[in-house]
């Protein structure tokens, strides 16, 4: 460009050279837009093309049968197994959704007495309010929310669910509880107890007191080193031996203790990672202004440590939520167990009942876990944005 202007000045009158740059030509059609995208991301080179073709073939092989099973050949209404048996008119029977519809309330409440089920509904509603309050980052008064979620809801729902004859609530034995109710109760107890105990254990592991440190390390490493099943076995068969006969805990309580222990140990390691990420200056600064140990932790260190740990805490909760399925081993009817019992029920035994039940259960767990993981991702992104500023 510089040369061009220079030239034009020399020639003087004959200004035939452009002084302004020509507009850029658009990239070739084959490199942009849909065609370009397809070329770059599906057919870049022979190997990629082969892979794409193979993947498409795989999808053609997999997807239509799944859609056929779930929707096209599915049975939506019916009173019992007859509806889901293959007949001459319908030789191919897909998912037996009639079975899920029929057993739906059993999946949710288990054997909880039907006239008392409104109590469970209130429990779910209270929980939903608490979760929404705490998870919505712009919500007002998170301190009140925490108080509500960690203190009010446990007490109220304990009274509500087990019953209190004095105020007119019929007592409901925990052996009648089941389905989603038990899954939610178990995972929520794990969540409520694992965070405080986990924080204490994490602080203990970083403590200067040798006895406290030793205890924390042994507890954490012991529980993390064994499978959850053995912890549940321990809670279920050993715990009743360790307490006097009169105080023998009921089955649900045993499982809850096992789950809480297990979740606390994992939570402790997550919190410890957060504590380690806090620069030493924060501790020293807190001590320099004269704060005691608990003031330092409560006011300075934990708020920062927990904030950066939120994604990992949520991920631990996802694991915990999936692990609640194992409480079956101690004879508790959680959601998966109710599906398991229903699918072998003679009333609904048909070729596709099992698969339908499992697909339904998978959708239930997927929605909860995927929701939690999306939340963790969004918090992570938000925190990342705050740090980049």
């Amino acid at each position: 460009m510089a040369i061009a202007t220079h030239d034009s000045r020399i020639v003087g009158k004959e200004r035939f050279v452009r002084a302004t740059p020509v507009a850029e030509l658009p990239a070739p059609v084959a490199m942009t837009g849909v065609i370009g995208w397809v070329r770059a991301s599906l057919f870049a080179g022979p190997l990629n093309t082969i892979l794409t073709v193979l993947t498409v073939l795989l999808l053609i092989w997999l997807v239509p049968p799944i859609i056929d099973f779930l929707f096209v050949h599915a049975v939506w209404t019916g009173a019992d197994r007859e509806a889901c048996l293959p007949t001459a008119e319908h030789p191919e029977v897909g998912a037996c959704w009639a079975f899920v519809r029929d057993r739906f309330s059993y999946f949710i409440y288990g054997s909880y007495p039907i006239p008392e089920r409104w109590r469970v509904d209130i429990f779910f509603a209270m929980l939903a309010v608490g979760i929404f309050w705490l998870l919505w980052l712009e919500a007002p008064r998170h301190d009140l929310g925490a108080l509500y979620f960690f203190v009010v809801v446990p007490i109220v729902s304990y009274i509500l669910l087990t019953g209190w004859p004095l105020i007119g609530l019929r007592a409901v034995d925990t052996s009648l509880w089941g389905g989603v109710l038990v899954t939610i109760v178990v995972s929520w107890v794990g969540i409520v107890f694992s965070l405080p105990i986990g924080i204490l254990l994490a602080l203990g592991r970083r403590s200067n007191m040798p006895a406290v440190k030793l205890f924390s390390v042994i507890f954490i490493e012991f529980v993390r080193g064994v499978p959850l099943i053995t912890v549940l076995f321990m809670a279920s068969v050993m715990l009743p031996l360790f307490v006097p006969d009169a105080y023998s805990p009921d089955k649900l309580l045993r499982a809850l203790i096992g789950i809480a222990m297990f979740a606390s140990a994992y939570m402790a390691e997550v919190v410890r990672a957060g504590l380690q990420a806090i620069p030493k200056g924060q501790y020293e600064g807190a001590m320099a202004v004269g704060l005691g140990y608990w003031q330092m932790m409560y006011l300075i260190v934990l708020p920062q440590a927990l904030k950066i740990t939120i994604p990992n805490i949520v991920n631990t909760y996802i694991g915990l939520f999936k692990d609640t399925t194992l409480v079956v081993i101690v004879g508790i009817f959680d959601f998966l167990r109710t599906v398991e019992v229903s699918r072998i029920d003679p009333k609904w035994a048909a070729p596709t009942t099992s698969a339908t039940g499992y697909v339904f259960a998978a959708i239930f767990y997927f929605i909860f876990c995927y929701g939690m993981s999306r939340y963790a991702k969004s918090v992570e992104a938000r925190l990342g944005k705050a740090d980049r500023r």
């Binding site: 995208w37 991301s41 006895a211 406290v212 064994v226 053995t230 998966l336 499992y358 767990y365």
Partner: protein, 395 residues
Amino acid sequence: MSIAQEGGPPKVALIYDPKVRSIAYQVVLVAIILFLAYSAVRNAADNLARAKIASGFGFWNQTAGFDISQTLIEYSAQGGTYGRAFWVGLLNTLLVAAIGIVLATIVGFMVGIARLSRNWLIGRLAGGYVELIRNVPLLLQLLFWYNAVLKALPDLRDSWTVFGNVYLNNRGFFAPYPIFGEGIGLVAAAFVLGVAGAIAFRIWARRRQERTGEQAPVGLVALALIVGLPLIAFFIAGMPATLEYPEKGRFNIRGGLEILPEFVALLIGLVLYTGAFIAEVVRAGIMAVSKGQTEAAGALGLRAGQTLKLVVIPQAMRVIIPPLTNQYLNLTKNSSLAVFVGYPDLVQIFTGTVLNQTGQAVEVVMITMAVYLTISLVTSMAMNWYNARIALVER
């Protein structure tokens, strides 16, 4: 209290002295733990005495009296003891864990790399697989594979067959199995020799390459040594192996190699589940390698495959190894879910059947936990050693 003396530290009341406080806290903690332990032991002794349950490890040598569907070592209901049953269960656990770890690593690396592929379709497919598998409980997946897939296979009469002597039905997978005769020791020795030779050749080749820059065909030579040498020995020894074919009767299939559907369901479930987690570990590890490394490798003229193998993966491994170890341990611990599909692993045999028969909950659960703890600790120690070996050496 008096005012602090010059030079000495200020005196404070004993209850404000951090040292005294810390000792007091620890004494209280130890006292509480000791009290809990003491009352637990006393209650346990009471309860056991009332229920007339024996204690101690005397049951170890008693006859078990139950059958086990898969035994890697000799075991029978009449002759086997509880101790023997324990070893059978432990070996079954280790078998499924070992095979599972190998397969899950392969699946995990393939999916993890596929997820980063520039091919949109493959990336999405891998992503969908990871999200779907990771967000559904493992137990549900195991039950699905076992009850909805493997149990839905045709029964014995309508078995699927390949080549007339490989059968697949809802009782399992049956295939020919080699029976070794005399002289198989020679083949085994040749195999060991081959492996040792391959390792030696690799060391020599690497030294030579560092010295002169010349490359040697390590892969081909290793293949020849490890496969070829035992093959030659096999023919020299006069082919000391015959295949035993499974024979299909009216009610069952006898002979040959039998793989239980329980084992297959557990293996598929564990491999797919852990594979999805390993895929995420691998993806994170590869993304942790800075882009400049890939670009520099490209500038040096390395092809995509070479870049991955020589530049990216070795660096990513540093990030990958610690969480990968965790996944291996998780797989081993998750293999205890075998109890839900009836695969005879340690938990199913020992914490299930043996506990029910003897009623000695404390001993049985303690032994089981000790086994898993040992596996965890040994694996972490091995991985820490490996980790220290490949860690970045900084100035």
